[in-house]
Assembly symmetry: D3
Homo-oligomer: 173 residues x 6
């Protein structure tokens, strides 16, 4: 059985991520989705907790009809020393033989640890990006169309829109 | 939708745990299985990494034909202050309204945080316990019968038996 | 009895802070003054230790004749996960029912935890700000007038002026 | 001005502690009461949070009519390295010149750091001890008489009795 | 070039350790001496700081005429997760190909990471042990003969004897 | 015996550092070389692990014929509180009486702790700087001439050039 690892922060998990998961599932039997920087939340660039991001991923992949037998979703916090991060991932996940990432640090660390590393085939990256979603939420600009319907609804329901906007308020005026 | 939380260390995940999950799934729509003390491994009482325990849980529940749509498996490390542990669990998991645990500290902490807490209906606890499994592995005494077949095979395959036995060797002779 | 929480870094505690405390004490029976980011010191923006800041607060409020029965001063360090910060504050302080803060993150976190949050009625904020005090100390520009007399004397006595100036020196020339 | 440091865990703060504070206040102008192991709570030997202990201390000393101008109450967490603990205390407290403690590690660490260290003149230690209080709470044996009236009432009000008893329940039966 | 790793706590570094280093230097070109649990000190079983232990090692090996070009001495703290400890050692030391240890956990962790692991050829272990040295210091029983002369002198000079004895005093009488 | 402390990050250790060590060894009997920020690696500004930096220092000083009896090389990680950093250094190193550093924070912290602090006599600092070395490695511009021959060879051998270049790749195109 071939297991692959897909690392992201998923702030939030959007349609581009869904497409990546679908493509990667053609290459591996099982995909481990690592929710990276799991300790971060309530920041403009990292508004959602790991639990909220895990909820989004399940909603999004259920919506797409992807069988949860095919994947694991596992939160992994950052560590103070990059040099032990790969081993922390290994300790928290089922074993895997290939890593999918475009992030230079992640790629280099896994390569030095002897893993095969491949690029993630991103889907219309200029449009479907978490940065773009957060920007549109702030500016009230059609952010829902970048997300699976169930994720957009979840973000509204758990009050994510006002969280992001309140965090953006300046406290000096 | 009613989500419940089931906390354990699962060192290892045995037939008693499987029975508990089956019973709890009759009371909730979705169960969050928290792999507690996720940072621990390679100790006599905590031999397996969180990743290994997650692998066992998936094998065991697949073997039983339980649909993974019904549960989440999420590793949660200990924290230095008990007083913030519940909030760490909340931050790492989808939202939930009921907690299942027999552990006094876990029960008390969730009660103080306002959660409904119920006892876990353990299945033949004197026989099906992780302590008993580890003891039998050390003494070579029929440990496989306490585990789902797929978990017993996995422990052999990933060299878990010799890990436990080597950790038990005294270094003073 | 109504207890309120007032969170700040107080680098240093100035006349504006004294005025805020006086006003808040009209609304609550007891005020908990949280010395935030208590682990920080010896940085240009955070020059003073928590102990030094606690000393300043006591001097300033004594100078103003405020009875220490009316307040608590408690240092609270930052945590790696914002999602557990409120619970750390709760664990380190007497219980409280209202929070005073203008800082967006602090406000949002306490709101999500179910607390009543109100704005701090700052006093001539453009003049009485800790940033302004530190800038004037660096530039030797009449910083004492922004501080209670006892605090200004304490900063001189504990050598705070030279600490800030030495930390500002560039090491590349 | 002469400031002294009195270190304890105060689980809980009892009549013996009150007597110590009264005696020490005859030797110093100001006393810093360090609430040690501030991160611990919800354990049989450490049932109360730092915030709860701070609340007890204020109640107890108010009851005795001790002016809060004479003391500071400051929570200090344990650190992983004993060798830096004294410096953490220094960073979190107003400056002091003498330390009161009977605990061998605390005494040694402050001595090596050059501080004057004196024994605490305990008051009927065999009776007035926190260990005895916790034992009596568990066994329902007249624990209130070891505590200032206001502290005993507070412990009942914040549900401390049932916290201690629930933590003592075994989870294996 | 063949580099070996020798892990110990060296509380304190005694004649047995010196003999081990001499023997190991016959098998490798360079030896990395890891001062483990480097964060511990001022405990009865771990009385000396890492810096003090490093000082002892240099004194002892100088006394024996061993060229410091042949070894490195590197302090390594414990980590909360055993599963990343080997990688922390790797990150803090020059590269090595063989590990010498009798400690079951250390042996197992390095084996799982793919390293060759060999037993340490201890020298009269019943006599030359750090536990025995500490016991004799406590009981004033001829501890110096278990140590290189320079190490015994250093321990006296830096007041190690009284440190161990003071830490052993009970605080309940 | 007079021991001095020389603190740096040594990313990487270059000819300027070698010259500093040679000059300082004229003023002290023994030099403690602290490899600061030892937890950092795999970042553009901190590409090398502490172990790699220790390896470089030994190569460089061996190449120069400096006797390792004259120095210690000790990795020290950053701490969250500057106020305890000096004590962490003290706990990890042999005792010392003088500190050499040009870094304002390091200088100030050691001064407040009562140490004598002197400037490092840097050697052609505009040319021989670690920043310059890293820039030239990125741009392929004659970086080897800034390093001792053995260090340049080591960086090539352990694949340091491609590490730095891969870390500099943008992940957004």
């Amino acid at each position: 059985m071939k297991r692959g690892l897909f690392v992201g922060r998923f702030q939030p998990f959007h349609i581009g991520h869904v497409q990546v998961v679908k493509r990667l599932l053609k290459s591996v039997d099982e995909l481990i989705i690592v929710v990276g920087s799991s300790q971060l939340s309530h920041e403009l660039n990292n508004p959602f907790t790991a639990g909220e991001r895990i909820t989004m991923i399940r909603y999004a992949l259920d919506e797409e009809g992807i069988n949860p037998k095919q994947y694991h979703v596992i939160p992994v916090p950052d560590v103070t020393a990059h040099a032990v991060w790969v081993n922390q991932v290994i300790a928290l996940t089922p074993s895997f033989s290939i890593v999918y990432s475009n992030e230079p640090l992640t790629r280099r660390l896994f390569k030095e640890a002897g893993f095969k590393v491949e690029n993630v085939p991103f889907y219309h990256r200029e449009t479907y990006s978490a940065t773009e979603v957060r920007k549109r939420i702030l500016n009230d600009g059609g952010w829902e169309e970048l997300l699976p319907k169930s994720v957009a609804e979840y973000i509204k329901r758990m009050d994510g829109v006002s969280r992001i906007r309140e965090l953006a308020v300046s406290d000096t005026t």
